[in-house]
Symmetry: C2
Subunit: 282 residues, 2 copies
């Protein structure tokens, strides 16, 4: 795989972690950061996530590949602008929702240069300081609507994700957004809501967190996630997230009803049903 000059737009948790991998796996010959947040730009240089920070136009001119790693609302605005500016470059986005983005550039004359991707990796932290070495390895990445991308562009993206150890999946953008609502977005909502449930109680009972266990931390850690990233995701994937949230509330009501009616046989059944998740996640 020939090394390329790569621009990363948005050098935060995702963009920064990818930059580390692109360098480590010798995929990039040069890494340029585009970053509107001055503090993040400075940090990205200090942490040597990128070789230099440039304005977008200059960065594009000097690159073979442009990777977008910004919140999905900014992405929908920026992607068509980037496609307007490019010539031969490949453009890849790493956003958590795909339908609106793919729709936004459906008829763009440079559509073929763009590859829609979602690596299923993240942490509850944000910013360049949160970037991690070895991220993305053994994790799934969804490439959406690959047929709308030029062969060379999608091949490069496949090779790049493969070289950093990701498991490639190809799917339609609508299917992606539905599935992501189930296996990612709803987890964040339950975690935010769980944090608020307990924080509400803590106002009365200061000592409550002294008892917090690893199980609690595990279910609530996503509640630390960055609202600037998540509000746009929920907004763009509103209908799917609402469907899953309704289903989740109705599942919780079954537990509530068991307790109210003291129907412990059915409670046992519900838990045994939930245990089937053992067959699916390790």
């Amino acid at each position: 795989m020939e090394r390329k000059k790569i621009t990363i737009v948005g050098v935060g948790l995702i963009g920064g972690s990818l930059a580390l991998q692109l360098h480590e796996k010798k995929i990039s010959s040069k890494l340029i950061g585009v970053e509107t947040n001055e503090f993040h730009a400075q940090k990205a240089l200090e942490l040597e996530l990128v070789d230099e920070i440039l304005p977008l136009d200059e960065a594009i001119l000097d690159s073979d590949v442009v990777i977008l790693a910004i919140p999905v609302d900014s992405m929908v605005t920026l992607l068509p602008q980037v496609l307007d500016k490019i010539d031969h470059q490949i453009v890849v986005d790493l956003g958590s929702t795909k339908s609106q983005l793919v729709d936004a550039v459906k008829n763009h004359p440079k559509r073929g240069r763009y590859v829609a991707a979602h690596p299923m990796w993240g942490t509850e932290y944000s910013g360049p300081q949160a970037a991690i070495r070895g991220a993305f390895e053994k994790v799934a990445v969804a490439i959406c609507n690959a047929k709308e991308s030029d062969t060379d562009a999608v091949e490069w993206a496949r090779n790049m994700f493969g070289k950093i150890g990701m498991r490639l999946l190809e799917m339609d953008a609508y299917a992606h957004d539905l599935h992501a609502a189930y296996v990612s977005h709803i987890s964040h909502i339950t975690s935010f809501a769980l944090a608020n449930t307990v924080l509400e109680k803590e106002k009365e009972e200061g000592a409550i967190f002294d008892l917090a266990s690893a199980g609690f931390e595990s279910t609530v850690r996503l509640a630390k996630s960055n609202p600037a990233m998540w509000v746009p995701i929920f907004k763009q994937n509103r209908e799917n997230v609402l469907d899953v949230l309704n289903e989740h509330i109705s599942q919780l009501r079954k537990f509530k009803s068991c307790l109210e009616k003291e129907n412990y046989d059915y409670l046992l059944e519900l838990i045994e049903e939930a245990n089937k998740i053992k067959g699916i996640i390790k």
Copy 2:
């Protein structure tokens, strides 16, 4: 701390992990297991969690300390029987609920020999094979209604938990059960319900789990937990769990309402509120 002959009733995840620590930290001179499940008894010997398996009566006669690590419904039945049988022995339980247990032996002539404890540790696995070396370290343990225990008994329990690296908390059994509902029991219910939400969908959409991320695994891992342990916990702590579950459902409804009304400012506020959990869990 003088080494003692210790019986562990229930050599599963919790009892087995404690046995490993009691041996490792030189707290026990001999470890006796009492285990009604033949397969678990055999495994506990094979894994050298205990030195021998004995019937309860013989085990008590040969012990200085009896530790109960069985589901909380069996505990309520067995604890008074154990107190009937003991003489000088110290009895400690490790159950996840405390009120019913403490109430069940409130007027027992041997009440003083008993120490009510709940180490805030566990995993989603069960049985002696799930026992882990180094468990309990740096984790909180609640000792409840210590004033109802004899000084020598509670002192021994404090020293034992301290020696295996636990952080001691003392509280009333009712306060414990309320707090445990918030920082442990509700996490399990949300996780069970989340698993059922996604498993329900998976019947239609086989590929959904290909996309599962670490975030999803983190929020759903508790859904693997053993129903034989958890149904009795929810049963005994029914009222507190129902209160928290109602609060949690109403918090989820706020997210639902934001999405339905497309009120993204309030959604941002809800997430920023949830982010305050950062100040509480590391």
